[in-house]
């Protein structure tokens, strides 16, 4: 759906050449990596923790399984998965951005998480893993940054085991107009200012707000998942649709 005839794509509201988007997104996350966790808590007022808990509830993950936390950033989900799958399981934290990976790795090591987690720098569009490899793949607040989302979804489908599931946690379209209005105001007026205040980086948070608006809504994303082969696809609106969790199975 991002494929334009002239090879351009969205970077927030700006239209840029496709191979430049990767670089631009990289810049954004390089510059926010260090303060990423604090910003997450401040900007979502801590609610992102609840969204992530819900994601884990829907994951069905068990002892001994193989999990890929894609666009895993600072590894919130990885930490939980690592403890659930235990010593016989395996979690891969993959991210395109090595600054985020480094912050993630340091954070998890400090928490004492070691042994069953590995760190891989990878682009979601071309995952460097064998076919049918993972029981579970999650991508939380990552898909909207990916240039070619269809390609990423297809690549995810390939490395997922039959019987495995994909969970996409992502900003979405609020289901009530008042919520949408408030939310718009928040993302375009307050969010960049907070970003400037805390991380001294209003541009990155301006991009965040814009990228959220350009992201496909609930039903479009569901369609996109079905198109690459996912079955039993469904989504759950969280916080009135500000965020949605999509779940699909590979059979």
């Amino acid at each position: 759906m991002q494929e334009n005839p002239d090879n351009t794509t969205h970077f927030g509201f700006k239209t840029v050449e496709e191979d430049k988007k990767v670089e631009l997104v990289a810049d954004v996350f390089h510059s926010v990596a260090a303060k990423y966790d604090i910003m997450n808590d401040v900007l979502s007022m801590g609610i992102h923790r609840i969204w992530k808990r819900f994601t884990i509830d829907c994951s069905g993950v068990r002892q001994g399984q193989k999990v890929l936390d894609l666009a895993g950033g600072t590894g919130d989900l990885t930490a939980k998965f690592s403890r659930i799958v235990g010593t016989k399981g395996e979690v891969v934290l993959a991210d395109i951005n090595d600054s985020m990976l480094k912050v993630g790795r340091t954070k998890l090591r400090d928490m004492g998480i070691e042994g069953n987690v590995s760190y891989v720098q990878a682009n979601a569009e071309e995952l460097p893993f064998p076919d049918n490899h993972f029981d579970l793949i999650t991508i939380a607040f990552g898909l909207r940054n990916v240039t070619d989302k269809d390609k990423a979804l297809a690549s995810i489908y390939r490395v997922l085991k039959p019987g495995g599931r994909l969970l996409v946690l992502e900003f979405s379209k609020p289901v009530y107009t008042p919520v949408e209005k408030f939310y718009d105001f928040y993302s375009f007026n307050i969010l960049p200012k907070l970003g400037k205040l805390i991380a001294n980086d209003s541009e990155s948070y301006q991009y965040l707000a814009e990228s959220i608006r350009m992201h496909p809504d609930q039903d479009t994303l569901k369609e996109m998942m079905n198109n690459v082969g996912f079955e039993g696809t469904e989504y759950f609106n969280l916080s009135a649709g500000i965020v949605a969790l999509h779940r699909g199975y590979k059979y």
Binding site: R53, D57, V61, R62, S239
Partner: protein
């Protein structure tokens, strides 16, 4: 759904925060490392899954794997779980249902309830020895005062109930009442005896007059 997520989150944070202060928590978690325990209150029907690792305790409200041990316990029995001797008792009385290793249940109960926290020590790290010590002196005093106050209130409220509103009888009244009851009891007994005697006498008279009549 997100409400139970919130609940689990709060519970998890609470337990782990306390564990950070508890000097015995790390070794207890090490013993249980990798154990998953499903626990639910009989009253609530909301299962919680406790995933215990060396690093912390995670609390989930959904889990599709196989827990190592499943516990169902009634609310009142919660604080009895710690006690080794009471466990079998609780199981017999049906207040506790265990599917799995009973020893795990006990270790788990200890992990959550038997925390060794030196509050004074922790506070002194934050504010210095002197203040911490003072604070705890005051706190102890406050506890004592509350206890005496509580006793006073208890006494006063019983006075109020007995004298002012007369909902409950005073001790004297109770004594008087029970005196009356026993008096009534003995009176009744005497009366019964008298009736008995009378009846027997009449029966005797009757049979004697019958004998006399026969002789005639």
């Amino acid at each position: 759904m997100p409400l139970t997520n919130l609940l689990c989150g709060l519970l998890e944070t609470g337990v782990n925060q306390l564990h950070q202060l508890d000097s015995s928590a790390v070794s207890k978690r090490k013993q249980l490392n990798g154990t998953i325990i499903a626990a639910s209150l009989k009253e609530l029907k909301l299962p919680l899954y406790f995933i215990i690792s060396e690093q912390q305790v995670d609390v989930l409200n959904k889990f599709e794997g196989e827990p190592d041990c499943t516990i169902k316990v009634s609310f009142q029995a919660l604080n009895k779980l710690q006690d080794n001797r009471q466990l079998t008792q609780l199981i017999k009385s049906g207040e506790l249902e265990v599917d799995g290793d009973i020893q795990l249940v006990q270790q788990f109960a200890m992990l959550l309830t038997d925390m060794q926290i030196d509050w004074e020590e922790h506070l002194s790290q934050k504010v210095g020895d002197v203040i911490a010590h003072k604070f705890f002196q005051h706190a102890k005093k406050a506890v004592q005062t509350t206890q005496t106050q509580y006793k006073r209130i208890e006494k006063q409220s019983s006075l109020y109930l007995t004298e002012e509103v007369k909902v409950a009888p005073s001790a004297l009244e109770v004594a008087y009442f029970s005196d009356q009851v026993s008096r009534l009891e003995s009176d009744t007994e005497q009366l019964l005896n008298k009736i008995n005697n009378k009846l027997e006498k009449q029966l005797n008279d009757l049979s004697q007059s019958k004998v006399l009549a026969d002789k005639k």
